[in-house]
């Protein structure tokens, strides 16, 4: 018995949140929500875990810091130490304050770009990728819930969607 996909379209994000809560109470899993802007509070209801991208950014940042320290140490101290204006670079600690700006910039560079690239890859947002929103109106002013349902649940789900204010319910 094949499962069917039910789409419930709402005109208002608050109604959709109410609908999602009712569905959750009825132990029906909402597969996804498509909306023109972020709906705050929807994630825990439909079971979207908190993203760990910030942790990634931190790791990328630390990587950038380390690379910058390694680079300035190698170029300024190890490979060719110079004495500019009576400020020799025989050891890293001698001139490290002068290396802070570059270390900071590389930290930000790696954290920002690493996080952005991870975000694009994780969401699979790349040039040439086809959009996955089933209805083009969901980037304009409609809010859509997508539910995978067994045929015997269909009526119940459609009922919950309509009773919470869905303006359109379609079953595919």
């Amino acid at each position: 018995m094949a499962t069917k996909t039910i789409y419930g379209i709402y005109d208002d994000e608050e109604l959709l949140v109410e609908g999602a809560k009712k569905l959750k109470a009825a132990r029906i899993r909402v597969k996804d929500v498509f909306s023109p802007f972020p709906i705050h509070g929807i994630d825990p209801i439909i079971g979207v875990p908190r993203t760990r991208l910030a942790i990634c950014a931190f790791i990328y940042g630390i990587t950038g810091t380390s690379l910058a320290i390694l680079m300035t140490w190698f170029m300024m101290v190890s490979d060719w130490p110079t004495d500019v204006g009576g400020k020799p670079s025989m050891y890293y600690y001698m001139n490290w304050p002068a290396f802070i700006p570059v270390t900071f910039e590389l930290t930000v560079f790696c954290a920002g770009h690493g996080m952005a690239i991870t975000y694009l890859l994780r969401c699979w947002l790349l040039p040439g990728v086809s959009p996955k929103n089933p209805d083009p109106r969901t980037t304009d002013d409609k809010f859509m819930m997508q539910i995978d349902a067994r045929p015997e649940q269909e009526a119940e789900i459609a009922n919950i969607l309509r009773s919470t204010g869905a303006s359109e319910v379609t079953i595919h």
Binding site: D32, V33, F34, S35, P36, F37, P38, I39, H40, I42, D43, I46, V48, R50, T51, L53, A54, A57, M71, T72, M75, M76, D79, W80, T82, V84, K87, A98, F99, P101, V102, F104, E105, L106, V108, F109, A111, G112, H113, M115, A116, Y119, L120, R122, C123, W124, L125, L126, P127, G128, V129, S130, P131, N133, P136, R137, T138, T139, D140, D141
Partner: protein
Amino acid sequence: MHHESPLRDPLILGDKTYGDITADIARPIEGKANKYWYIVFTISVLTFLWGFGCLAYTIGTGIGQWGANKTVGWAWDITNFVWWIGIGHAGTLISAVLLLFRQKWRMAINRSAEAMTIFAVMCAAIFVTMHTGRPWLDYWLFPHANQFGSLWVNFNSPLMWDVFAVSTYFSISLVFWYIGLIPDFGAIRDRFKMKGDVVKEKIYRTLSFGWSGKAREWSRFEEVSLVLAGLSTPLVFSVHSIVSMDFATSVVPGWHTTIFPPYFVAGAIFSGFAMVSTLLLIMRKVLSLEHYITIQHLEMMNVIIIMTGSMVGVAYLSELFISWYSGVEYEGYAFMNRATGPYWWSYWGMMTCNVISPQLFWFKKIRTSLIATFVLSIVVNIGMWFERFVIIVTSLHRDFLPSNWTMYHPTWVEIGIFVGTIGMFFTIFLLFARTFPVIALSELKSILKSSGEQHKNKRALNKKAETHH
């Protein structure tokens, strides 16, 4: 949903729905440009081409074509570099710092302000790459394996810090801007899809990277925006601090001051907000965005202009005071020469435009007047250009050896390059205004209920009804 105090003025005027917001912001992209757009665009392109010609001439013959000389080694080039970089700072401030402070009024203006940042940094990059004299060797600025033994770049030098700061700033701003654009490109793409315009749908599909607006995408999107804002905030402060250190770490009288970093950052924000005001005043009118970019938005920016302008004023006066109080003869002379020497007009132009004129914004009538804002924003931009000219040229033209004393006069080539960058800036900005969503429409939709006029009025009416019962 957040509820907002009824005392706050609405940020979105008129009886707007979510659909109206998409339609209003997509209109310039879908419609045809009017006559004025073509006139301004033609002028900008011609100016840009003229500047391009002057650039080519400089590359072909060398920077001897400029007025800079042995005594005044930095002049027009670095003045314009610092001016353009400073202008860029407002964009990052609006999109990053105001995001961290949860200022909702940023949402109508952050997209175009960030675009301005990117275009301004591009203009700044022209001067900084050209002033090296042999721009085709500019890759020497970056540390790379080389045949010089291998002698590396000098990380003790603020000029080197500047290379890293400006390139990081440009690329991070570009990423921040584009990440924010993806959902809005998605909205534009879907409009063309519904209209059946296959070609444009394809273009915007590519630009939107296949955005779908799924809950997971939004949750990650918000996290990325927040972290990028957190990263950009110290970044924007670091960039102009480092630019100021190009001067402050030298021993030239007038440059060797510890207040330079905060003073430069305040000045950058000051000039940047002035440029945002100039651009938005034109844009809201030409693209009919008066309901989104309201008088209130302009007033907020004018408040920031008074604040940063006053900070700059305090910095000018403390510099002046310290040059006398320190008892250092050279410092004292440098400032006396600024105020009364052959470049007195640039010093007093700077003082009038930057310290006196923004104080007019203390009057509510002036800071809420469109014409006054427009005029004063241009005055501030002129003043901030003079500031950099004063700092650079007046400090250099009379150095420690009186036999070196000389004057600096710009040549037509330099003036041509500067005018050309203004043309380039407007050319790119005008193209942006016709092809990109100039307002972050998805962000704006998220505040429609809390800050939209009709929603606020409705809530006020409900409250009235409750108290009557």
